[in-house]
Structure formats: C-alpha cells, structure tokens
C-alpha cells in the first residue's frame, strides 16, 4: 500500500527506517529472530525499550497529552510496519499497550505521576491479572476477593496464564469488591506490588518447553485503596476499555507479512502445495493489512471504530497459526528441533542448526496455538462479531 502514502508520510517512513537501521544492533536482531514466544525476553526487551525511550518513540501509540509523540494512526502504523520489516524485538504489551492507556485515561493525578514514568523507564515491569482457573472466557465470573480494611484492600485469589509474571514487579488485576451485585458491577481494577507479602508466582511450562506463563497466588495481600484505578465497581468497564484499546491499538498484518517473507527467505523457494499455502497466507495477510488500514484511516478522520475492527484478531490468529505450521513443514527435520537451552539466543548456546527460523519453528508452532485462545478465544470473537457487527 506504499503508493497511497503522502509525501510527508513517505518522509516520515524514511526517518523511521534510518533510525532502525542504526539502532538495531546485531544482538538485538538476533535476539528478536530467536524469540519463540509472543514477546521478547527481558534482556532483549529492556535494551530495546531504553533505546526507544531515549528516541522519544517508546510510547508512540499514546496521545501527546499522555506523553506520546502525537503521531497519527497512519504514522503509528508506518512505525510498526518498519519495526516488523526490520526484525525489531516485540516489546511486552502488558505495560505499554494495556495498563498504560488505562492509567492515562482513568488514573488519578497521583497514579499518573507515580506509574507512567516508571513504566517508561522500565523500573516497573507489568503483568496482567485477569484470568482465573474458573474464569476464562466467562471473565466476569472471577472470584478473587478484595475486602476493604481501612485504607487497604485485603486481596485473596488465584490468577492464571499470567504472561511473564516471573519478570514482573507490578500486577494489574481485576478483583471482586462486591459479591452481592450483578457479576460485572462488583469488579474493581487494582494495581498490586508483586513484592508485597502474600504474592506467590508459580511457573507453567508450555508444551514448547518455554516458560512464558504463570499462576499468581494472592494470599491476603494488602493493597492500598489508593492503588485502585477508577471507582469501586468500575473495573469491568475499564477492562473492556483495555481490551478494545488492545484491539484497536496496533496492527497485526505488518508482523505477519514480515514473518512470511523471512520464512520464504530462510526456507528457500517453497514449491507445490507449500508454495500455494504460503501464497494463500500472504493474500489473507495483505487483505488484513488493508482491513486494518481502513479502520485506522477512518479513526484519524474522526470516525468511531467500524465493527470490522472486531475481526482482525480472529483473522490474525488463523494466519499466525498457518505461518508457524508452514514453517515446521518447510524446514523438514530441522523444523522439529526443540533445544533444551533457554533462551535460544544466549551467549553460551550453540549456533542454530540450519537457521534461526528453523531453530524456533517447532517452539513457535506450539506457542502459536495460544493465539486463538488468549485475549478472547476465536469462538468468543465470533460471538462478539455476530452480536456487534451483525446484530444477532
């Protein structure tokens, strides 16, 4: 879609491209290429976050009033597209994409002053405490209790599927502050210091052998009332804002198209049925790119997001899983390796057999199964589309 860019947008793209060429060290590129999970691991992510923050582009998707660079949606898209094409690390989104916008939208002045700078500097590393063992798709049924005791809440419960909680020092969580009203109305949004007594993190190893996920146990954890975002009982609408913001906040297609291109380069020419699969995946991703752009352009022009924005996560999940399955097939036996060492890019890890792409193929295939599960399963997405876009 190059050709619809204005001259100013083209110039901006040149600026981003030049910056990335300079700022992405071989170590960062290698670390990104050898990432098997959804997000870059901490040493890679920390270094990249510091570089972006120094440039003023870390919170590129925040409005100027919240400290962002004041870019249009198209500029943000160009930045994401160039980062994907250049193979930049994918930063964890729990802080920057999820709780950050919640804080600048719903947070008190004191909360904004305390948390936003610490988020940007990397001092605070965030994890998301939404899902519970009994509350997955039916999130509003969550049972973690927060009982008021003077200026604190006493929080007890069990969170699960908490991505990178082992690296986090802050947790944002949905908790039940009122068990006697409609489930959605009794939920509040708390910011929890993970160093507080009563917080325990237990790893969940993925089928890939990666440690991305955790359980977080909260056992009578004291959380100051001042750490509640918004009003008591407002947690559900904040959570909906967060999830909608997550959906509209960034584009899926640039990364998918860049990964497809890199797969074709690393695997050599794909032939026959694999070539046809690669082509179908590329067509679907090209269509998704335009589907995403249509919405971004409309929002830049002042319109409310069209219901079509509800479709992108569903579509992206399918393409992502298709790409990772194709990768496993394309590399033959080299695509079935699952080295024991983690992370793959560590300095004492032997060089990849065949290629970086082949080495992570099996782990990525396994981890990508989660795409149609996290952030609302594909079945939930379909139900949302049927209701919101089609009125069924």
């Amino acid at each position: 879609m190059d050709l619809a860019l204005t001259d100013a947008e083209r110039a901006f793209r040149g600026e981003v491209r030049a910056f990335l060429a300079d700022a992405l060290s071989p170590e960062l590129r290698r670390g990104a290429a050898l990432t098997s999970g959804v997000f870059a691991e901490p040493d890679i992510a920390r270094a990249w976050q510091a570089i972006l923050e120094a440039k003023g582009w870390l919170v590129y998707h925040w409005p100027a009033a919240a400290g962002g660079p004041g870019w249009t949606r198209i500029q943000r898209w160009i930045f994401e597209k160039e980062c994907a094409e250049a193979g930049a690390p994918v930063l964890p989104g729990m802080g920057l994409k999820l709780v950050g916008p919640v804080l600048y939208t719903f947070g008190s002045d004191a909360q904004r002053a305390e948390y936003l700078p610490a988020l940007r500097s990397g001092e605070h590393v965030w994890a998301q405490g939404f899902s519970e063992p009994g509350s997955g798709s039916d999130l509003a049924s969550l049972r973690t209790r927060a009982v008021r005791a003077d200026d604190d809440y006493i929080v007890s419960g069990h969170k699960i599927w908490t991505t990178q909680a082992q690296f986090a020092n802050r947790l944002f969580a949905l908790v039940r502050t009122d068990p006697d009203v409609k489930p959605q109305q009794g939920i509040s949004f708390l910011l929890i210091d993970m160093a507080a007594p009563g917080v325990t993190v237990r790893p969940i190893l993925s089928a890939s052998g990666d440690h991305e996920l955790n359980e977080v146990f909260l056992d009578e954890v004291r959380v100051p009332v001042a750490n509640r975002v918004g009003e008591e009982g407002q947690g559900w609408s904040i959570a909906k804002f967060l999830l909608e913001n997550e959906r509209g906040g960034s584009s899926f297609a640039p990364q998918l198209l860049a990964d497809l291109r890199r797969l074709a380069e690393a695997a050599g020419p794909l032939v026959g049925e694999r070539a046809d699969r690669a082509l179908r995946l590329r067509l679907e991703a090209q269509a998704l790119e335009m589907t995403e752009l249509r919405t971004l352009i409309e929002i830049d022009a002042g319109a409310a997001p069209d219901p079509r924005s509800l479709t992108t996560k569903l579509i992206a999940s399918k393409i992502r899983q298709g790409i990772e399955t194709l990768a496993v097939d394309a590399f033959g036996l080299a695509g079935l390796q699952l080295p024991l060492e983690r992370p793959f890019y560590g300095s004492d890890v032997p060089p990849p057999i065949h290629s970086a792409e082949a080495q992570v193929a099996a782990a990525r295939y396994l981890n990508a199964r989660a795409w149609s599960i996290f952030g609302g399963t594909s079945e939930i997405q379909l139900s949302i589309i049927a209701k919101a876009a089609l009125g069924l």
Binding site: A4, L5, L293, I297, R308, L382, S383, L390
Partner: protein
C-alpha cells in the same frame, strides 16, 4: 494516506445506488439480464461516459470509478455487460485509433454493446476460426476479437461470415457461440501492454461486482436468520448460525479490502494487485454464496429467492476471467 472516495465519486455511487434501488428489490434481483431500456437510461445518466477513456469521448474515469460503479451493479445483482462491454472493450477501442471515434459514442449512450471474444485468425483483413462462447455475444453490435495470432481486431456482428448461436448461461445472461468464416474485420492497432491494461480494468470490475454481490447476499442471510424461527426461536439466536454469519462477515470485509487495495494501486502495481484480488475474492465470493444458500435452508436452493439466483451470478462471475486457482498460478509463476 487517503483511501476515501472523493465527493464526486460518492455522488456517482449514490446515483447508481438510487437508480438500481428504484428498479430492483429482493424479489426482482438477478431475474434475467437488465432490460435494454434500463441500460440506456444508465448511459443517459452519463455513467458509461464517466468510465470511458477520453480518446473514446469519455471522461477518463480511473480504477476507483470502475470499482464504485461495478460494486453498485453487483450489489443489485444486476446482470449487465459492464465489465466486458464498457470497461474492457471500451478501453481497447479507446487505445485503437479510429475505433474509439466510431464506437465511443454509442457505447457511452448505452445504444451499443460490444463483446470481447478470444480466438480466431486474421489474414488480410478477413477473419476465420472460432471464438467459442462469448459472454453477452448475442446482444453485441460488434466484437473485439483477441486473435490467436496476437493483436486484436474488430468485427461487426452483422458482417457476412459471422455466425453466432445463442447460449443461455447459468446466470440467465445470453452468450453467443461465435464462429468466423471469411468475415471482414478491422485490425486494431493496440499494443499487448495496452490490451493487458484493459483486461486488468475489466477484472477489477468483476472483483467489485462480486464484492457488491457478497454484501447483498450476506444482508439477505442476516435478515433471514432473524426472521426464520425453529424450535420456537429465530435461528439467528443459535451459536452455530451466528458463528457461520460472523465468518462470512470477515470474509466479506477481507474481500472488500482486496478490492480497495487493487483499485488504489498505482498504474505500475495494478496488474499484480488485481490478480491478487482475484486470487482471494473469486473463491471467497463463491464460498460465501454457497454458505448463504445453506443459511436459507430449502428455500435457498429454489429459483424463488434472490440468493439462489445470486449464487448463479456469482458462479458465472467467479469463473468468467479464469477462477481463483488460475490467478494463484499466475502469482506463483
């Protein structure tokens, strides 16, 4: 980045939409080819002149205009020769010297329909051989013939040595089985590259007609599943139905994106972008039409509802210029 239609383009879209809405509804859609008087009325509104290149006396509308007009005709499931006659033949004659002057005006007015034929040999201004089935061929005043020997020629339908017999196509349109036996023709002075630009525009029109048809078919399906009751409830309240409809909506939006992407591509990139759009949309449209029939149950397979007739139109359009598999082979080559 700007992808929104201009004010003029919005006016054109609204005009065509109103014109068609006044004449076609769910009971009359896709019930045979558009009557000649309606086609002529569209010509009088200036719609075809808008799409014809300036060298054929038109206003030189570009890919966006072609897309907008074709999508509206598709939305009404209108059975017309837009892609073949106005877009493809119009582009060819405009790039072929005198033919543009001779045929531009009648094409613009809707008084004449041209058809595009492939096959036939030209020697010293005389055509022989067969073109096989030519869509819209029975109503055509003349044929633009892409010759087996390369290049193109124009032959009038009533010239001696032109033989045609009617073929009723699956969507109710009438094609001609066309043969030449010493028919006098005018060789068209058109470069291969120009011919392929013309075909690309026509293919974009087909893609847009299909996207328009997909939108209407999905709307019909949503209306139906809201009304149709089984087990005491609208079937649209069942999750199996909801999820099928939601998938169709994503397919429609993705197809629309491929169409827009092709229309917005620059002249250098359009050929490939249109082939990519075909590779996606042709199969997607037929799948959607089949699913919409499924959602209508027994009624879907009858001739009484627009969905059954819509399936026929989609089947034809999705195969007319080579199907999705052919487009994917072209992209893989």
């Amino acid at each position: 980045m700007n992808i929104a239609p201009s004010d003029e383009q919005v006016m054109v879209r609204d005009m065509v939409r109103r014109f068609l809405a006044d004449r076609y509804d769910a009971t009359s859609m896709a019930n045979g080819p558009m009557p000649a008087k309606d086609w002529r009325a569209l010509g009088e509104l200036g719609l075809f002149a808008l799409l014809l290149p300036e060298s054929a006396g038109g206003m030189g509308g570009g890919a966006m205009e072609v897309m907008i007009v074709a999508e509206e005709l598709g939305r009404a499931l209108a059975i017309t020769p837009l892609a073949d006659s106005v877009v493809l033949c119009g582009q060819v004659i405009a790039r072929s010297g005198d033919a543009g002057a001779r045929w531009g005006e009648p094409l613009a007015q809707g008084d004449a329909v041209l058809a595009f034929a492939r096959g036939g040999r030209e020697e010293a201004g005389v055509l022989s051989g067969a073109s096989g089935i030519v869509p819209g061929g029975m109503a055509a005043s003349a044929f633009v013939v892409a010759l087996e020997t390369g290049g193109a020629a124009l032959v009038e339908a009533d010239a001696s040595g032109v033989a045609r017999s009617a073929v009723r196509m699956v969507d109710g349109s009438i094609a001609a089985d066309l043969r030449f036996d010493g028919a006098r023709c005018v060789p068209l002075d058109i470069a291969e590259a120009d011919l392929s630009v013309a075909v690309t525009m026509a293919e974009l029109a087909i893609v847009a007609e299909l996207v328009g048809a997909m939108g209407t078919l999905l709307d019909l399906a949503i209306d139906y599943v809201r009304q149709r009751k089984q087990f005491g409830k609208p079937i649209g309240s069942f999750q199996a139905i909801q999820h099928r409809c939601a998938r169709l909506y994503t397919v429609l939006e993705q197809s629309r994106s491929m169409m827009l992407r092709a229309a917005l591509a620059g002249d250098d990139a359009r050929g490939r972008a249109v082939t990519e759009a075909k590779a996606y949309v042709l199969d997607a449209a037929l799948r959607l039409a089949e699913d919409v029939v499924q959602l209508h149950g027994g009624m879907g397979v009858t001739d009484e509802l627009a969905v059954g007739r819509g399936l026929r139109r989609v089947l034809l359009l999705s195969r007319l210029y080579g199907g999705g598999a052919a487009a994917r082979m072209a992209l893989a080559a």
